[in-house]
Symmetry: C2
Subunit: 209 residues, 2 copies
């Protein structure tokens, strides 16, 4: 029976999968009360474990947050890969744009994960191989796509490569952060479509005419 299993679970001295449970609990806390209300104690309580237990698995609160960030980065990588795969066969610039749309869709669907990844103060970004490598992989993919687009003459000749890259990145990041930071109400942005239209406008301006 479920009840017996639950009682059994509660009686067990060892949790069994505390690491995952703590990460999940942390996500829940952020979604319910915001990232600033995360506490290791609260996460421990939700995992049904004593306040000190988490420190067997995470050296510090920052280490726990970093684990959450790594889960987030894994999912972002997956989302970007999916968007990229869906656009396969299109020209490089179309795939490039598709990644941007995928990034935005993912950020809107997972605001908590996005928030943790984008901040470099809550977590020690550089101390994590996962975070650095996956982040760099996505960045390189964008660079390669844009380089391909330029080589095949799909980008207007008078545009500087680095500026186009930085512009596209800043636009997508700015849109996502405006949404997460709660700026959309004051800017009368109706829905997610507005973001995608704006990104498409930018890409159309970049393309060779």
């Amino acid at each position: 029976m479920d009840k017996d299993q639950q009682a059994e679970q509660a009686r067990r001295y060892h949790h069994g999968n505390l690491v995952e449970a703590l990460v999940a609990a942390t996500i829940d806390i952020i979604e319910e009360r915001g990232v600033e209300h995360v506490s290791v104690r609260e996460a421990a309580k939700r995992a049904g474990v004593s306040p000190g237990a988490p420190f067997r698995h995470f050296r510090s609160k920052t280490a726990l947050m970093t684990a959450v960030a790594e889960q987030a980065m894994n999912r972002l990588t997956e989302a970007v890969a999916q968007a990229s795969a869906d656009a396969e066969g299109g020209d490089p610039l179309a795939v490039f744009e598709a990644i941007g749309h995928g990034y935005l869709r993912w950020a809107m669907a997972n605001p908590t994960h996005f928030q943790i990844i984008s901040s470099r103060t809550l977590i020690d970004f550089n101390s994590s191989e996962v975070l650095r490598h996956q982040n760099e992989a996505i960045r390189q993919q964008m660079i390669n796509l844009l380089a391909d687009a330029r080589q095949s003459g799909r980008i207007a000749d008078d545009l500087d490569f680095d500026q186009v890259l930085l512009g596209a990145r800043a636009l997508v990041y700015g849109l996502a952060r405006m949404a997460i930071d709660g700026h959309f109400p004051e800017w009368n942005v109706a829905g997610p479509e507005a973001m995608h239209h704006t990104l498409h406008l930018f890409m159309a301006q970049i393309a060779q005419r």
Copy 2:
């Protein structure tokens, strides 16, 4: 003598200008140790006052942070007005762009203030008349300038007004946040000039050709 005055100051029961001192102390803390390490106690200590004293002037920590945000918003308004005044006489689109550059310059020169203003979780943005009104004033100025530009035929006809507005805003905001969030090292952004070049590129793309 200064020493006597200082001793006199230290001996005084009433601080004299605790509100300002607390706001200044809070800014110092953020600059030294980051926004997440702000504590009312620390601010009180730096102002040379007991831990409970600040609560005579600020109902909560959030209220203190809101006061800091209002100071920041005042300065941003001033910076935008200055940038706008400097570009007076140029066509509306040039003034529009100048505001963007002014916004970026201000954010880079006052990262602490920018960070507080842009977050809507650390402060209760809507509870402050100052924050809402000044923010809306800047927004309206941008809308008006862009409307003027469109009316005088300086914007390409096939572009949607709202998308251009949102795009410009998101680009500037994204650039500022990438800088503050520490994304520039990984994107190999050399200096502040890169941001300004990228913004200028966007504006050039928008302009009627």
